[in-house]
Amino acid sequence: MPYLYNTPDETREMLDAIGVGSIEDLLAMVPADFRLRRALDLPPAMGEMELDQHMQMLAGQNHDASDKVCFLGGGAYDHFIPAVVDAIGGRGEFYTSYTPYQAEVAQGNLQAMFEYQSLVCRLTGMDISNSSLYDGASAAAEGVMMALASKPGRNRVLAPASLHPEYRETIETYLANLDVEVVTLPTPAGVLSIDELRAALNDQTACVLLQQPNFFGCLEDADAATAAAHEAGALLISVFDPISLGLLKRPGDYNAGDGADIVVAEGHSLGSPLAMGGPYLGILACKEALVRRMPGRIVGQTTDRRGKPCFVLTLQTREQHIRRDKATSNVCSNQALFALRAAVYLAQLGPQGLQETAGLCLQKTRYLADRLATTERFKPAFKVPVFKEFVLRDRECDVDAFIAAALDAGFLAGVPLGRWYPDLDDCLLIAVTEKRTKEELDRFVAFVEALAKDTEAAELGEMAESFG
């Protein structure tokens, strides 16, 4: 028991002090018929070395972005993580502390959260950020809940098909038992049609979600969508990619500063690892007017008794531990460790670093998209500018086989879209981050070209055989 202290003699001493004969006596308050009368059916304990070898064995049964060239995106991206982020995130004082209930001994976490909030506000052009939520999808759902609460009487939510399908599913799950209609607007051209949006907006519409760049990597007309939503009295919820804001307009600046009302994002790209999809970082920020509807923890600046500036959890009257069934949300934790990592990441990158990162994503994505479009196998699915992802249509309509062949050749080739979009089941979503080198991109193109030849050769072979 590497983490336990009590030896048999100490246990004896403690039981004597309590005045009982055994630990069993202490458990007497558990009704006898509820007691488990056998050992749990679990594998036996492992010491550290054995555990480590076991975990390495399991890890060895995976491939990942460290041994394959990763072109996977769809909401999780292989961005570079500066070593400083790991060094800070690995400090025990950060990761083994809890929610800063005692501000006097938690200024480290509190200040870091305040800085995170401030960085998010500057990045997005919003007034207020909370100190993070679970992930991008649940942040989107919470954003919708905020919008609904702030637009009483309206119960219609518009979500384009170009919004991440798992975000749409999450929103639907959250709203399942509330009297709300979620309308999915089709995006056959890869982006939302502003005309269709206008047509769908009505005085029951509480909010419009708009992802920029969208799930297909395409750039939406965010200015027009914002204008349309606001004209109809609805809120605009912007779903953004934080890395893209190195180049793209801040959601708060949409439509000449009219701006999104609520912004949400998946923030793992800001210094947290792919990690099989979680834990991640849900970013949520909004305009000042909406702050009392905002879910989650918020850190505020104040002064202590001696007048020294300091930080505390604030506006807690919104929260469940005080409001209980009247709370704005049931959220009672945040992703503090990953919000910290995001703050360190943004501090380490600075304005130029983020801009350069976004620039490399853009250029390399364009390069690969153009090169792949020249292959026999693929053609672009959409004719819209993209940022760091794009959709290709497989002329052979065999996306799964392509992915499997690419895996063997050393590539995590892309995300097949069929699971979410039956009409795109011959399509592949390919992401290119700043980490991908020209050599890797060219190698991938060469692989696709060679595959085409192989297929041709195989077909000729088969033909030859059948004639043989």
Binding site: Y3, L4, N6, T11, V30, L36, L40, L42, E48, M55, A59, R91, Y95, T96, S97, T99, P100, Q102, A103, E104, V105, G108, Q111, F114, R122, Y134, A137, H164, T170, T173, Y174, D223, K249, R250, E266, A275, G277, P279, V291, R297, T302, D304, R306, K308, V312, T314, Q320, H321, D325, A327, V331, C332, F338, L349, G350, G353, G359, L360, L412, L441
Partner: protein
């Protein structure tokens, strides 16, 4: 050391990061993207050199108390030791993309599958979803499962969720989010559910009774059997808030004491680090009849091979999306996999005997500390507890004017994180102490002695406490009245 804000350290032109020159032919951005989507200027971020960044955040870290540095008996939060081996193991799975082809992720799927099995065995409930991102989301997920189940059963009239007044605030909040109405049930000083009030509020509209057991004063609910029986008799379900599972591992299984659904807090029970507030995770287990409604996907297996050897023995692990009755998903991807990797490592490090020893020692430590504290701080619930207890500072308050908050703040001066105070709401001047099993008798003794010493200190000294921390008590009223939640330099 400096506590200037990052923004105050910024100076135009400084940089810590330089990206490589673009190695593919570059096209001017203006040709690639329409002007309307582009930012007019680079993002407004502070400009720093790397030494700034490192020193700033390193020094911030030292202003925190943490489990790695201090005894942290924060009741209900189970601040136990976070094993370093688990952190190392989690890093082995850091570069996995959640949308990889499943043949390329058999190792992690196997781990998650086994984790599901372990959670089921520990809870005594047969089906599991690892998806919820936190305990509160687990509650919501389970309540949505219940709602879907009742709808399927044609019992959509069941809109009532019963919640004891000593419950965590998330319970009622989750119930409302899932579309239910909340009815509060009273509890007694002992922490037990007031059975009269319970029966008065139980009717055929009940959907779910949400119970925390061991409860938030640290006792095993004495009426667990009758409650479950009565709720089930009315066609309702029992939901267990699993925050206190640390007390009963291998001792009693919720599925065996009438629970239909529960969440876990792996960051508490299975030693995942709390990370300053998160991430946690909130996997849930449910009975067979509720299994079809679990969030999708779950991890499933074809073929054989549960063995721990290097081979999967022909078994294939896969993500099962084909669950037509699922409530859907509550977040992207698979859940907080990294937290589950740590939980898996923790469970494998302990085995059945080890997990039992965890709970035995959590209970032993809590009772020992209770036995030392009760002489000077009354513990209304009595002489026994499970993994935590709630002392009351009411007498101290009335006699000496010293509040639970004063006590808590003064403890900081002595190098102890404060217990949870003013929760549960049912105990006056509540001081909720959870020592956990990963503290030594010597630490508990020193803590008890310090607590006793403080109760005799000058009340004025205590009102002004803490005295030795980086800041003194913050003005929370000012923070709420004139909120400053963002640097506006």
């Amino acid at each position: 050391q400096d506590t200037q804000l990052l923004f105050e350290l910024s100076h135009a032109g400084r940089r810590a990061t330089r990206l490589p020159a673009c190695d593919v032919p570059e096209t001017p951005v203006a040709e690639l993207l329409p002007a309307g989507v582009l930012a007019a200027a680079p993002p407004e971020l502070p400009e720093l050199a790397e030494p700034h960044v490192v020193r700033h955040f390193t020094n911030l870290s030292t202003q925190n108390m943490s489990v790695d540095t201090h005894f942290y008996p924060l009741g209900s939060c189970t601040m136990k030791h976070n094993p370093k081996r688990n952190e190392r193991a989690a890093a082995y799975f850091g570069a996995l993309h959640p949308l990889q082809p499943q043949e390329s992720i058999q190792g992690i799927l196997r781990l998650l599958y086994e984790a599901q099995q372990y959670l089921c065995e520990i809870s005594g409930l047969p089906a599991c979803s690892l998806q919820p991102a936190a305990g509160a989301q687990g509650e919501l997920a389970a309540l949505l499962v219940a709602a879907a189940y009742f709808k399927d059963q044609g019992q959509s009239h069941r809109r009532k969720v019963l919640v004891p007044d000593s419950a965590h605030g998330t319970n009622p909040a989750s119930a409302v989010m899932a579309g239910f109405g909340v009815v509060t049930v009273k509890t007694k000083t002992s922490g037990a559910v007031d059975m009269d009030d319970f029966h008065a509020k139980l009717d055929d509209d009940i959907a779910v009774f949400m119970i925390t057991n061991p409860n938030t004063v640290g006792i095993f609910e004495p009426n667990m059997g009758p409650i479950a029986e009565a709720v089930h008799a009315r066609g309702g379900l029992i939901y267990l808030d699993g925050a206190n599972m640390n007390a009963i591992l291998g001792i009693a299984r919720p599925g065996d004491f009438g629970v239909d659904m529960q969440h876990y807090n792996p960051h508490k029970t299975f030693s995942g680090p709390h990370g300053g507030g998160g991430p946690g995770a909130g996997p849930i287990c449910v009975t067979d009849k509720l299994a079809p409604y679990l969030p999708a996907p779950v991890v499933a297996k074809r073929g054989e091979g549960r063995e721990a050897s290097g081979e999967n023995g022909g078994a294939e692990y896969f993500l099962d999306f084909d669950r037509p009755k699922t409530i859907g998903r509550l977040r992207s991807f698979l859940g907080n996999v990294g937290v589950m990797v740590r939980a898996y490592a923790y469970i494998r490090s302990h085995g059945p005997d080890g997990l039992r020893a965890v709970s035995d020692n959590a209970v032993l430590n809590a009772n020992y500390l209770l036995s030392r504290v009760k002489h000077f701080l009354p513990v209304p619930q009595g002489d026994r507890c499970m993994h935590e207890f709630v002392a009351s500072g009411a007498k101290l308050k009335s006699e000496r004017g010293v509040s639970a908050m004063d006590l808590a703040k003064r403890l900081l001066d002595y190098g102890y994180h404060a217990p949870t105070v003013y929760f549960p709401l049912t105990v006056k001047e509540a001081i909720m102490v959870e020592p956990t099993e990963t503290e030594s008798k010597a630490t508990l003794d020193a803590f008890a002695e310090t607590l006793f010493k403080i109760t005799g200190e000058d009340p004025d000294l205590l009102h002004e406490a803490p005295h030795t921390t980086p800041i003194s008590r913050p003005d929370e009223v000012q923070a709420a009245r004139q909120p400053r939640m963002c640097y506006c330099g």
